[in-house]
């Protein structure tokens, strides 16, 4: 589904990703871990189509297309979803309206009929119930005045409604208390599907107790320095990121 080869990229002339190689197949859940500044968020944002990054080498194929040549909206319509680390507020635009515009843009691309407001509302209500979200958030402006936890849940709600093929969650666990974390994890686990891949970007192993990944990658200084099964995350928790560096050096 996703194939990253020798990706080098940076911003303002500073190289951040220094040769990433990563393959993700349908049905898999990957976790990308790494210390602050290792390039996790850069990778997530670059894949989602954020402007401003300079790709100096390498390639990214997504569903047999050249991902880097597609504008952000085309990537989204092709099923790539990013749950933002810092969800953005859009005053005056209701959650319901925003999600309707998003879903219908994607459906249109897929040759499906646009959903009308009533069907959509029902869909959103069902998903919100699963995520333990208050329906009153629907008419409220996108993320405006939401608590940190509400914002993160709202990202997962959008993911649940938009049903992406590849979902990248950028530190969705940060700022969540344990109850909220469980709810979010349940939401994500409910999305696991043979036709869908999920990439979790996280600093801590905590999330991976609830969402058990198939593969864990450790990112350090812009490279994937180690990949392994779910146990790798636990080892990391015990030994810290320094341990990987040492192992690599050894």
């Amino acid at each position: 589904m996703l194939s990253i080869k020798n990706l080098h990229a940076g911003i303002h002339g500073k190289e951040i990703l220094r040769g990433i190689d990563l393959g993700v197949r349908s049905g898999e859940v990957h976790a990308i871990m790494g210390p602050n500044g290792s390039g996790k968020s850069t990778l997530a944002q670059l894949l989602a189509g954020r402007d401003g990054y300079e790709v100096t080498a390498g390639s990214v194929r997504y569903l047999d297309q050249d991902l880097l040549a597609m504008p952000a909206e085309a990537r989204a319509r092709a099923g790539l979803f990013l749950a933002f680390q810092y969800p953005v507020e859009i005053p005056g635009v209701s959650n319901a309206l925003f999600l309707k515009a998003a879903l219908n843009s994607i459906r249109k691309q897929q040759g499906l009929d646009e959903l009308d407001a009533m069907d959509l509302l029902q869909l959103m209500r069902d998903k919100m119930k699963l995520l333990g979200m208050d329906e009153l958030l629907l008419p409220r402006a996108v993320n405006e005045g939401f608590s940190g936890g509400e914002k993160k849940r709202n990202e997962v709600l959008q993911m649940a409604v938009l049903e992406p093929k590849l979902a990248i969650l950028d530190e969705t666990d940060s700022g969540l208390d344990i109850d909220a974390l469980k709810i979010v994890a349940d939401g994500v686990n409910g999305m696991r599907h043979p036709q869908r891949a999920i990439v979790l970007v996280t600093h801590y192993q905590r999330l991976l107790e609830f969402i058990v990944p198939d593969v864990v990658h450790v990112l350090s200084q812009g490279r994937i320095v180690r990949s392994g099964a779910a146990e790798l995350a636990r080892e990391l928790e015990q030994h810290g990121y320094g341990w990987v560096e040492e192992q690599k050096a050894a």
Binding site: A72, A76, P91, A101, A102
Partner: protein, 482 residues
């Protein structure tokens, strides 16, 4: 500049594609302004003596005046002697024969705004058959209004049929000495609307929804007078979201509203005159004086405006709160794109006791647009317990535009409470990326963010108008209709 803001600039930098289709009217007086021209205008309109005298007084006063210099607008000098001050309504023969003769881009714009076919024909000046749906609809409504004693007609008709009302109220809110442009209008105004709602009558429909297309060709010096007698209510809509063709560059309209005891007037405007091209060439200069007087106790006047057109907008719809407990409101969205300039706002003058006013202004600047909010809140010594709340928000798109806020507050009564809030924000790359990452096209995203910003103002528009206004914002930002 990053790629995202470049993209933003491209979005808002598109051109007004169709431009103007101009057909010159044949029955036009020679250019220039003097007493003979004013006598000619008055004579052609068969006006009574008092009208001619009023026009002449205004003209003589105008000769002593100079253009105001305080506004944050810039334009080459206007040669007032190079303007023709009277054009007879255009003959239908001059218009296109059918919509197929029109610029397809203009038609596309009408489609986008959802203007019905018949209205498209009227707007475009297509010669149509005598039997025409909306004309008969209009006639039916006029009969209904007449049953209620409501007078709603062209200004020139009111001068003929109701001279006593015109004489009593004309210039009573905006005197002929008021300001350079209002005085010029008083001398030369061509036509406009007149509306009188008798005591206790609630006008059952949004006035001019059904009439707007019949009211075109009122010319560049339009005059509107609306009187709501005791306990009356009226909601009036001016303008149209569709781009209208006009060959006059200078527009100087005057609107006067009068609300007597317990009366309420809601006045909504959507202004979408030609804004000029991408380089700032051409476009309408819209210098308008609008003022309402809450003359009676418990009266209520609200102005709502959506200003997206014109090269220059200079207007301050105001309310003088004379009656005790009277209420004045001003809700505004002003959008400037390319090289458009807007200096707009309001004046709320609190005279009566316990008077209240609310000001909500949303300015959007894109391209090289310059947007100034200018407001005055004035509380006179007798205005016990006056209240004002003002909120001015500015939204910037791109890096070359400007937003300015100039609030003036004069309080001469210690019991007054006056609040002012202001904010300036920029459509961020973050917001735009958040939308596009969800599959929303950048153009739609900008329009959605801007609509959200304006929501609180749109809520004050009649439903149908609000939907049109929202579409208009989207189209204006695209630049395809200005």
């Amino acid at each position: 500049m990053s790629a995202a803001s470049k993209q933003l600039d491209e979005l808002i930098g598109r051109e007004y594609r169709h431009g103007f289709v101009t057909t010159l009217a044949t029955d036009t007086v020679p250019r220039g302004l003097n007493e003979a021209v004013i006598r000619m205008i008055s004579a052609r309109k068969h006006e009574p003596q008092f009208m001619l005298e009023w026009r002449l007084k205004a003209f003589r006063h105008w000769l002593t005046m100079r253009e105001p210099q305080w506004a944050n607008i810039h334009h080459p000098p206007i040669d007032y002697q190079n303007i023709s001050y009277y054009s007879a309504p255009k003959s239908e023969k001059d218009g296109p024969r059918s919509l197929s003769e029109l610029d397809p881009e203009l038609l596309r714009t009408y489609e986008k705004l959802g203007i019905p076919l018949k209205e498209q024909e009227m707007l475009a000046g297509v010669a149509v058959d005598a039997v025409f749906d909306s004309v008969s609809v209009a006639t039916t409504f006029k009969e209904k209004l007449a049953e209620l004693g409501i007078i709603f007609c062209p200004f020139s008709e009111a001068v003929q049929k109701h001279p006593e009302l015109v004489q009593r109220y004309l210039g009573s809110v905006v005197p002929y000495t008021d300001n350079f442009y209002a005085t010029l209008n008083s001398a030369v105004f061509s036509d406009g609307s007149f509306c009188y709602i008798p005591p206790g009558v609630r006008c059952p429909m949004e006035l001019s929804t059904y009439f707007r297309i019949n009211e075109r060709n009122t010319g560049q010096f339009e005059r509107t007078l609306i009187i709501a007698d005791k306990g009356a209510y009226v909601s009036y809509l001016e303008g149209c979201t569709a781009p209208m063709r006009d060959e006059h560059q200078l527009h100087a309209a005057v609107v006067e509203l009068i609300a007597l005891d317990d009366a309420q007037i809601k006045y909504a405007t959507v202004q979408n005159w030609y804004p000029g091209d991408k380089e700032g060439r051409g476009g309408i200069y819209n210098f308008v004086t609008k003022r309402g007087e809450c003359r009676g106790a418990n009266s209520h006047i609200s102005w709502t405006q959506v200003e997206t057109g014109s090269a220059i907008t200079w207007k301050y719809p105001s309310v003088v709160l004379l009656g005790d407990n009277s209420v004045g409101e001003f809700y505004s969205v002003a959008l400037t794109n390319h090289h458009q300039q807007a200096d707009t706002g309001t004046k709320m003058t609190h005279v009566g006791r316990n008077t209240r006013s609310t000001v909500l202004s949303k300015g959007i600047s894109a391209g090289y647009g310059q947007n100034t909010y200018r407001g005055l809140i004035k509380v006179l010594p007798g205005a016990e317990d006056a209240r004002n709340y003002t909120q001015c928000d500015s939204l910037l798109l791109g890096g070359q535009c400007g937003a300015h806020t100039m609030p003036y507050i004069e309080v001469r009564n210690p019991t007054a409470k006056v609040e002012h809030e202001a904010s300036t924000s920029r459509i961020g790359e973050e917001q735009l990326f958040y939308c596009t990452q969800r599959g929303i096209a950048p153009e739609e995203a900008v329009s959605m963010i801007v609509s959200g910003f304006c929501k609180a103002v749109f809520q004050n528009l009649p439903m149908e108008f609000a939907v049109e206004a929202q579409k208009l914002l989207g189209v204006s930002l695209e630049g395809s209709t200005g």
